[in-house]
Symmetry: C2
Subunit: 242 residues, 2 copies
């Protein structure tokens, strides 16, 4: 399971860029609040801080961590430009292995800045596509190192768990990768939904398990049959089709 | 009327941060496109580039430009964290007046970086609230200068024009500040709306003009009675209630 991304938990790796808990001051005749100096770019000697946009698409599922990278000469900051959650994988130590990986789930209003030399995985987005503003280093010298992670570590919980429960009461170990809402009215917190249909990374709609009609029914849920956390996640991540 | 924000038009003032027309390269095993070095921070001698978040609310209406500011020691970059359009006001020259102002309408996927010493107005957002990631300078020395603009310049077109047409065929010079949609189904480009009701910055719902029933009708419009540009703007800016 991913850890929640907090400043304290992420301190060994760098900075969390977020307004929560940050020093702020009113500016511009009180029309704007400045959450000040959430991160300081470290472009290193001879380097300069540049602003880029990274357009990330999903890593192939299941997400398997086979390698990490680091930038010894400069910091690298990522901030999402849309509100979906995303994943951060980092590791301490000079030559980390699969057992050293730390997985954080970042909200769509949280960015991170990796300190120079911190091992991290390339962008892992949960949405189909997500843009990030990136502040990192440009300058002379070799600023990219890569290391293989053996054996590859599978991230089980990139998606929320499949809600399918077998007749023996065992829950399906798959994840939800698609969700469709029927009878949607309104939007945001006031949204009303009649029913959801979900698809699993392992078994699709689980249609082969029971007779097809019954099987289909098992993957359809009224809103109160699904965890609020799952539904919040599904809507926030833009996964819900309707 | 605002100018469209393009790299060429904005060149005297700094850089437009956007993917359109930018050099890009595939990275991270092809899962990510890097739009590279869209801006370079200029923190100046002794300064460092810091990352902050500015949470902007609307400037009081009508938006009146009464002053500008500039940062002689460092660049300042703004990138919106939600997709609403916003306004950029800048001016060339050492002591600009109202006649020197340039007004640009930036899309929600466009940022700008002001070069050191470029006169600009504090954040002018069109949405009720909008967050920006800001990359600017921290360091010794006085990095803020302000200048009054006399007489104040009113930005007429912060909002789209009121669609009300008087009996003498003159169009109301107000702007739309509120819009409500009825019978909304679906979302995004596939959205269907039965009818819109709009409110004007000058005359509200124009209810006093005609008999109240008729007056109300005049401010209700079927989708094909309003310009596409206005509707796109209204939805993109998050103004539409429904």
């Amino acid at each position: 399971m991913p850890e929640t991304l907090t400043a304290a938990a992420f301190a060994p790796f760098g900075t969390v860029i977020e307004t929560a808990g940050a020093a702020s001051l009113p500016i511009n005749d009180g029309t704007t609040t400045r959450f000040h100096a959430l991160a300081t770019a470290e472009p290193g000697p001879g380097g300069e801080a540049i602003v880029s946009i990274f357009r990330a698409s999903q890593w192939p599922r299941p997400v398997t961590i086979r390698g990490l990278e680091r930038h010894p000469l400069g910091s690298q900051a990522f901030f999402p430009l849309s509100a979906e959650d995303w994943l951060v994988v980092v590791a301490e130590g000079a030559r980390p292995g699969a057992a050293d990986l730390r997985l954080f789930r970042a909200r769509g209003d949280q960015g991170v800045q990796y300190r120079p030399g911190v091992w991290h995985h390339p962008l892992l987005v949960l949405a189909e596509r997500q843009d990030f503003l990136v502040i990192d280093r440009q300058g002379p010298g070799e600023n990219l190192e890569q290391i293989a992670v053996e054996p590859g570590a599978v991230i089980e919980s990139a998606e929320p768990g499949c809600p399918f429960v077998y007749a023996n009461a065992k829950r399906c170990p798959g994840g939800i990768h698609r969700i469709k809402a029927y009878g949607v009215r309104g939007r945001g917190r006031q949204r009303e939904v009649r029913k959801y249909r979900v698809w699993c990374t392992l078994k699709g709609d689980h249609a082969g398990i029971l007779s097809s009609h019954e099987g289909k029914q098992r993957m359809e849920f009224y809103p109160d049959e699904l965890p609020d956390e799952l539904l919040d996640w599904a809507w926030d991540s833009g996964m819900v089709e309707y």
